[in-house]
């Protein structure tokens, strides 16, 4: 059959191109535009070249925020992944407990970020919060507004509360795909609880775990709303993450140039991380 060539079909793609242009390309280019210029107001811009980038890359403030971000991601991964695995392992595989557990696990995931922040902000308050009051009644001098360590602990616990469910659900999906025959064979072979985990359950969860790590890392690296609502980045700068710092700089101080440079660097870091994860995952798949 003769194929008909009709280049008018390209016009069909035009709406999507426009959409992408307005939603991604133009904003991004605006940022790039700001990052290489300086302004003293009145919409007067001067060429600044790579100046802002150099400034950001050498600024202690940026290093500190980046360090806090990495520390935050590392700690919540170290807590959420093992905790998620343990919870998933202990969830029932059949019976009425399954829907109950699944709903309970999904609840935190359904709550919007800022609401989670508000919940914990109120929960932890020393004057009216249940947690704050309880700790005080127990004689523990807890105050996340003034004590950086307490602020960090609050942010950690909040994230663990909010996101461990995701790891649990992913792991659970891996676990329920294991046929009963594997557990039966393990019993016949006299495998210990640990051996069952190590040789049957963990291999089946491998893939979903990698996805869980990726999602949790990306998400925690970009965290903004919850700590902003709870601590506002404080006390001082102690819980100021990259995203919070960025907003402070762009909206608070109106330093558009450095802020733009910083967001590009931030973006490149995330791009790099995604690439590393993607490579690791595809290599892992190829190996199978």
């Amino acid at each position: 059959m003769e194929k008909t060539w009709n280049n008018k079909a390209w016009f069909m793609v035009l709406p999507v191109l426009l959409l992408v242009a307005f939603s991604a390309v133009i904003p991004l280019m605006t940022v790039v535009n700001y990052s290489v210029q300086d302004t003293f107001g009145n919409n007067q811009f001067f060429w600044a070249g790579a100046e802002w980038f150099e400034e950001i890359l050498h600024s202690d403030r940026f290093h500190a925020a980046l360090g806090r971000n990495l520390f935050f991601s590392l700690v919540i991964l170290l807590i959420e992944i093992p905790l998620g695995i343990v919870i998933a392992l202990n969830m029932p595989r059949r019976g009425w407990g399954v829907p109950v557990c699944l709903v309970l696990m999904s609840l935190p995931l359904l709550i919007p970020w800022n609401v989670v922040g508000t919940i914990w902000q109120v929960f932890g308050r020393v004057d009216i919060g249940l947690l704050g009051r309880t700790l005080e009644a127990l004689g523990i001098n807890y105050n996340y507004v003034q004590n950086p360590v307490h602020a960090w602990i609050t942010v950690f616990i909040m994230d663990v509360w909010h996101w461990t469910s995701l790891v649990v659900l992913l792991c659970y999906a891996g676990l329920v795909s294991i046929p009963d025959a594997f557990y039966q064979a393990a019993k016949i072979d006299g495998a210990s609880r640990w051996a069952v985990f190590r040789y049957i359950q963990l291999p089946k969860m491998n893939r979903v775990l990698l996805i869980a790590v990726l999602l949790r890392f990306m998400d925690s690296f970009m965290i903004y709303t919850e700590p902003f609502v709870v601590t506002g980045g404080g006390p001082g700068n102690s819980t100021t993450f990259l995203s919070i710092d960025l907003v402070k700089m762009a909206v608070g101080q109106f330093d558009l140039g450095p802020a733009a440079a910083m967001s590009i660097i931030y973006f490149l870091i995330i791009l790099l991380m995604s690439w590393v994860f993607y490579t690791v995952m595809t290599n892992y798949d190829a190996e199978r």
Binding site: A181, Q184, A185, D189, G190, A191, Y199
Partner: protein
């Protein structure tokens, strides 16, 4: 190695069994002799796997008791019972090498590494995977996986019994035959108590000293292959064993005479029926004589299968299979006679002992 007694074992998977239909195992009361090689034969869903899982302790029976050498083990765990079992669907540990897969049951029991090595190498030779020892088990073909699964069942030498649940389904016929003779040899050497589940009656008949036939959650007959063939205790055994199966037709009985429609068939001995509602006569195609005398039949089809011919005929509206020799010709006015040696009478599907 142990003698295994199943003491009135019943099992239902559901929580509140009411009628016999709710039981996957209705009632099994039977002993497996120490060192016996049994084949367990039966249609799909009759409870074979359930029975094996009860013996190995993977399932706790709803009723009844299990004894190993007279010791009650009903409440012991799988590990304490020390049974090897090979599953219907091959189970392999993906991340381990073939060698480690076989070594796994031994390592879990703390066997010294030198003994492990010797046993694993022996088993690898037996299942013909010695060249694959170092390979990851993940990439293997279905039949190699099944061999590993089988190997893990054979690698321990101190087990009370080995249970095989259709262990050779995806293995090609030649390898199947080799593995089966290996199993027989192993049995002779170590005298394990072996139970071998299969759908395949030739496999059952060649492997075992005793064949156990199950039907709808019950053991209907235990016997040597000859007994199953000559004296099926239940019409199901008659149908299931033999190819083609036994001819079974409803008859009326008076003393030692059975009437089939207008025909009268003399029995070797009068049968005691009790108050049975359904009386049937069973005769294997091998014992039906085709000739010019006896009861007239119409022939529907003749299947030539090489060594002999199977004649599909109708007698008094009943289907009747007849086996005739290769050279024998089919008469134009065919009649059949029943060899009295091959006649069995069934009351409510169970054989009436003469």
């Amino acid at each position: 190695m142990a003698k295994i007694d199943l003491n009135h074992i019943r099992h239902a998977y559901g929580p509140n069994p009411q009628s016999p239909k709710d039981y996957a195992l209705r009632e099994v009361h039977h002993s497996w002799d120490d060192g016996g090689a049994y084949a367990l034969l039966g249609p799909s869903g009759c409870g074979k796997t359930t029975l094996l899982n009860i013996i190995s302790g993977l399932i706790h029976p709803s009723h009844g008791q299990l004894l190993f050498d007279g010791q009650d083990v009903t409440n012991l765990s799988t590990q304490e019972r020390n049974i090897a079992q090979v599953f219907q669907f091959p189970v392999i540990y993906d991340t381990m090498s073939v060698y480690d897969n076989l070594a796994f049951p031994l390592r879990n029991r703390g066997v010294p590494e030198a003994d492990i090595d010797r046993k694993v190498r022996e088993t690898l030779d037996m299942i013909d995977l010695a060249d694959w020892a170092k390979k990851k088990a993940r990439g293997l073909t279905a039949d190699q996986k099944q061999k590993i699964s089988l190997g893990r069942g054979l690698v321990r030498s101190d087990v009370n019994a080995i249970l095989f649940d259709e262990p050779l389904t995806v293995i090609d016929p030649h390898m199947k035959w080799m593995l089966r003779s290996q199993l027989k040899q192993l049995h002779r050497r170590f005298g394990y108590t072996m139970v071998y589940v299969t759908h395949d009656q030739t496999e059952a008949l060649t492997f075992a000293q005793k064949v156990v036939v199950m039907y709808e959650g019950e053991i209907v007959q235990i016997g040597t292959p000859e007994e199953l063939f000559e004296r099926p205790k239940h019409t199901f055994v008659g149908y299931f064993i033999g190819s083609p199966g036994m001819n079974v037709m409803p008859v009326k009985l008076a003393g030692a005479i059975a009437s089939l429609g207008s025909h009268r068939i003399e029995l070797p001995a009068p049968a005691k029926l009790g108050d049975a509602t359904k009386v049937e006569l069973g005769i294997r195609p091998e014992y039906v004589r085709l000739g010019r005398q006896g009861m007239p039949v119409t022939i529907a089809k003749v299947e030539d299968i090489g060594r002999h011919k199977i004649v599909r005929a109708r007698l008094e509206g009943q289907e009747l299979a007849i086996i005739v020799g290769e050279g024998q010709e089919i008469p134009t006015e065919p009649h059949v006679a029943f060899d009295p040696r091959g006649i069995n009478i069934y009351a409510d599907s169970w054989r009436v002992e003469g």
